[in-house]
């Protein structure tokens, strides 16, 4: 019997040792991994373009971890709107349409709503475009409200939780506040009916009304094929120090300056317009993508809203993003360590931008470029058709999966009502 006791003790010890990972059994050597919480291993210097093992969180596979049920809404909520204007497929708000298409054919979709963890409502709220191509948000609250009324009356799942296990894609400027002007958006606040739902949006700013706790921030849509077509050979030397193309003053809406971008873009122009290191202008060159690949830093300042597709473009083309937007929440911030990839500049520090950028040590810059070269990073920013593993669709699903399981308290008792269906401006209550 004595020997069995020792065997038992030995087993316990082995289990203990394995548990605390004192012995590494066959784990690959982690170098330059993108792990959200841990600092990547710096001791081994891997060559820049051999990206090593990719991020652990980014490569999670959501299939099998959640089930999504897609409501069948009448086509006036989605297909008919798209038919009216095909530009919705190529502008930066196209994520809502592609998310719908992805979910329809994804393995996480389930046709049985009883076993679904999440419910998706395909309503294209950002597809009412002006002749110039900018979306008007004035009908969006009514559209959303009408859709929610439909699903709450035809299916019991909305009333079960009042939307706590539903998610919506609202890629507009200020998310579910449904307005392009920030003051107006703040005034409106998030649509009252979406108070309990999870919002998947591009807008993200800390301590802001329009960013709800538990929202998932996604990158704006950037056309993957177009960017792919403009790649230049990797050995082209990066010779531009700072690159930016875009408006500094929005003359149509804010002639004196100070409102647009909180004066930050104007400050960039006024301070650096004659600086040879800063290749900044308002032109629309045809070589925009190629130039980004020849630049070391790409400015991503805020505009009317803090997010912009420039971040996506900078990450795809390996240009270190310089983010000038106070308190911004970047896409998939829990999976991508933006602090280590980009440079964050406070808006008040914009006049000293050149000092800040030139005083970054070269090793830090090279490390950021190495991290940017990681293909899983680039993949996570894109919405490719058809979907590929590790892309933005999967990151959204990963985010949703991380929020599971739902807390028991979200399930309401019968008769309990939390949402106020008559809240909000009077104009929103009109049927759509």
């Amino acid at each position: 019997m004595k020997i069995w006791r020792w065997v038992f003790v030995g087993l316990v010890c082995t289990a203990f040792i394995l548990r605390i990972d004192a012995v590494e059994l066959g784990r690959r050597h982690p170098t330059e991994r993108i792990s959200a919480d841990r600092v990547p291993n710096e001791h081994v210097t891997r060559p820049m373009y051999d990206a090593g093992s990719a991020g652990d969180v980014l490569e999670d596979d959501p299939v099998g971890r959640l089930k999504v049920f897609v409501y069948e809404l009448p086509s006036k909520y989605n297909k008919k709107i798209l038919q009216k204007d095909q530009r919705c497929l190529t502008h930066m708000f196209a994520a809502e349409i592609f998310m719908h298409r992805f979910l329809l054919s994804s393995p996480v979709r389930t046709l049985n709503p009883e076993e679904a963890d999440w419910f998706y409502t395909p309503v294209y709220t950002t597809c009412d475009l002006t002749p110039n191509g900018l979306p008007l948000p004035f009908k969006s609250p009514r559209m959303m409200r009408s859709a929610i009324q439909l699903i709450s009356s035809n299916w019991p799942y909305w009333n079960r939780t009042e939307g706590a296990d539903h998610f919506f894609v609202v890629p507009h400027d200020f998310g579910a506040c449904f307005h392009y002007q920030e003051e107006k958006a703040i005034e409106r606040g998030i649509l009252p009916l979406l108070q309990r739902a999870t919002l998947v949006q591009t807008f993200g700013q800390r301590n802001h009304v329009c960013l709800k706790e538990g929202s998932i921030t996604i990158p704006p849509y950037a056309p993957p094929q177009k960017m792919q077509a403009h790649l230049i050979p990797e050995k082209t030397p990066r010779s531009i120090f700072v690159y930016f193309r875009g408006l500094f003053y929005d003359v149509g809406n804010d002639p004196e300056g100070g409102y647009y971008a909180r004066g930050a873009r104007a400050a960039v122009w006024e301070n650096f317009k004659d600086n040879p290191l800063f290749d900044i202008s308002t032109e629309h060159p045809t070589t925009y993508y190629e130039d980004m690949q020849r630049a070391v830093f790409c400015l991503c300042p805020l505009g009317w809203a803090p997010w912009s597709p420039r971040l996506v473009e900078a990450v795809i083309f390996g240009c270190i993003p310089v983010i000038i937007a106070d308190d911004i929440v970047l896409p998939f911030a829990d999976a991508i360590p933006w602090e280590e990839i980009g440079v964050f500049i406070d808006e008040k520090d914009v006049p000293n931008l050149d000092t800040i950028l030139t005083s970054i040590p070269t090793e830090v810059i090279l490390r950021k470029q190495r991290l940017l070269a990681n293909p899983s990073m680039k993949q996570a920013m894109l919405f490719p058709q058809p979907a590929q593993p590790g892309d933005a669709f999967h990151q959204v699903l990963n985010g949703l999966a991380r929020k599971l399981p739902h807390d028991k308290s979200v399930y309401l008792k019968t008769g309990q009502k939390i949402l106020n269906w008559t809240a909000g401006p009077v104009g929103d209550l009109k049927p759509w």
Partner: protein, 539 residues
């Protein structure tokens, strides 16, 4: 009424411009011509006038100060808030006082510890918004480091030493050409051995020139002098190159041998591209053959066969699957009548069928014994007896083993050119003016001595050396005096540019008689033809 209209237009101005119609309450009340309406109209007009004068719209400031109805107003204090689009007078942002935090109304944010406020902010401009040279230098260092890293990981791994063979000889344009090649070689990021073979023996002039490059050089001489005809020159150059190849074999230099003629132009990509050669490679060479009389030769070409005046290119020819199938050589027929025979002819200088400059080879091909040396290579000794070796292809038994480089010959990486001065042209040895020149020209302030005013000729101020043969004949003197009077007036013009020209040698002549006297003295005593002045010195 008017007030509300103004206010509404202010608040919803953004939506008016390009976003289409906003659902504004229509303030289309008919303009009742009551005294109040007229008063507001007059006030509005007055405000417009004031804005015109001031240059900015001050209505916002007025509204902010008087009405302060906007929900969340700006917090930053600024003295010159508005940027005038028209002018550049942007006063700097005075942020001496801490920003005044106007309490945010509670309907904006539930947790108002955000430091980001909506509304109008000042445009921050630092007091000296211009580049700082130290930072520019730092940025360039960063860029250079980034590019080095790029090259290290995407470019050539294990770069091999380059062995550059250059035949040269002392002549007027030698410095010009050799400096060009030298600077190209100094920029090459790989190890380099420069073998300079000189016709007429080793001279100090060439030696001092190539010593400036700080590269590893091997300078040898060939006793034969460079002949005056192009044909002879090409032949001697071939022999000189073989001499260099023999050195490579004797010293067992390891690397890639390339032929850089001293008047060619090499692109930096060439040096990166030839690192890809295994044994024997060929690149495309652009022929800049239309030197000399441009119009005549081009018209000649147009006559004969209508061949276009595109630059001819020599090099490997590939088929669509990027295999070598032949050679693009230089077609000299269009130039047959007008090609140069002697080095100082003003006609087109033609290259050979295939120039040496387009070939690179692995130095191990030249060694007596080297492992892996392919069998399709002739030994170097076999070439000794041959009279005219046109191109290093004679080293090969099998021409199909040549590797075409530069995207299979599609990239032109080196340009061939031959430009020479007359063979009897004189130039100061080493291009050093010694002893210094004697003529002084008065500076700007002194009154110009009398000179008969004459129309300025097209004689330009020569800021360099004038090269022409010396003929101590009276004819020369008279031509000089004519020129002197002509240029006198010119000098008066150049007085104005004296600051710029100070330190530069001018060809200027002052007064006729003084000049003539000096001329005769000068030109009788000195062998050179330089008539130059010392830099300006104030009298």
């Amino acid at each position: 009424m008017k007030l509300s209209a103004l206010q509404q237009s202010y608040l919803s101005r953004r939506s008016n411009s390009f976003r289409g119609s906003a659902p504004l309450d229509s303030s289309s009340d008919s303009a009742i011509k009551s005294p109040a309406a007229i008063f507001w109209l007059v006030l509005h007009g007055l405000c417009c006038l004031i804005s015109l004068v001031l240059g900015f719209r001050f209505s916002r400031l007025v509204f902010f100060l008087i009405f302060s109805t906007s929900t969340t107003s700006t917090t930053n204090l600024y003295t010159a808030p508005f940027r005038n689009l028209a002018s550049d007078i942007t006063t700097p942002f005075v942020s001496s006082s801490t920003p005044v935090e106007i309490p945010v109304l509670n309907r904006t944010t539930p947790n108002s510890n955000s430091r980001v406020v909506v509304g109008r902010h000042g445009i921050r401009i630092r007091p000296w918004p211009h580049p700082n040279p130290t930072e520019v230098m730092k940025a360039h260092k960063i860029i250079e480091r980034v590019q080095r890293e790029q090259r290290a990981h995407v470019g050539v791994k294990n770069p091999r030493t380059l062995i550059v063979v250059t035949p040269t000889y002392v002549r007027t344009f030698q410095t010009l050409h050799l400096t060009g090649v030298m600077h190209s070689l100094m920029l090459v990021p790989y190890d380099l051995v420069w073998i300079v073979v000189e016709a007429g023996g080793v001279t100090n002039e060439t030696a001092s020139l190539i010593a400036k490059s700080k590269l590893r050089t091997i300078h040898v001489g060939v006793d034969q002098k460079m002949p005056a005809s192009w044909g002879g020159r090409h032949q001697l150059e071939a022999k000189m190159r073989l001499r260099a190849l023999r050195i490579v074999r004797e010293e067992k230099l390891d690397g890639i041998v390339m032929f850089a003629d001293d008047s060619n132009m090499h692109s930096m990509e060439l040096f990166d591209e030839i690192q890809n050669v295994k044994w024997f490679g060929a690149v495309s060479v652009g022929i800049l053959a239309l030197a000399g009389n441009q119009d005549e030769s081009s018209s000649v070409i147009m006559e004969e066969g209508g061949e276009n005046t595109a630059m001819p290119v020599q090099g490997p020819a590939c088929n669509s699957s990027n295999n070598l199938v032949g050679w693009h050589t230089f077609n000299s027929l269009p130039y047959a009548r007008k090609s140069a025979t002697y080095i100082d002819d003003r006609a087109t200088v033609l290259p050979r069928k295939l120039e040496w400059a387009g070939f690179v080879l692995n130095s191990r091909l030249l060694w007596k014994e080297a492992k892996d040396k392919p069998e399709w290579v002739n030994d170097l000794d076999l070439l000794d007896g041959l009279e005219d070796i046109e191109s290093p292809l004679s080293l090969l038994k099998d021409q199909s083993m040549v590797e075409p480089l530069g995207n299979c010959g599609r990239q032109v990486l080196v340009w061939w050119l031959r430009v020479e001065a007359r063979s009897d042209s004189k130039f100061p040895p080493g291009w050093i003016i010694d002893p210094p020149l004697e003529i002084t020209v008065p500076s700007k302030r002194t009154p110009w001595p009398d000179a008969p005013p004459e129309l300025p000729s097209n004689e330009k101020v020569l800021v360099g050396i004038q090269e022409h043969t010396v003929k101590h004949t009276p004819k020369n003197r008279s031509s000089r005096s004519k020129r002197s009077s002509r240029t006198a007036l010119r000098c008066q013009e150049f007085n104005l540019e004296a600051d710029i020209l100070r330190g530069i040698y001018l060809v200027v002549e002052e007064s006729t008689e003084r000049k003539q006297r000096m001329e005769t003295d000068q030109f009788l005593s000195r062998p050179t033809t330089l008539s130059q002045s010392r830099p300006f010195s104030a009298h």
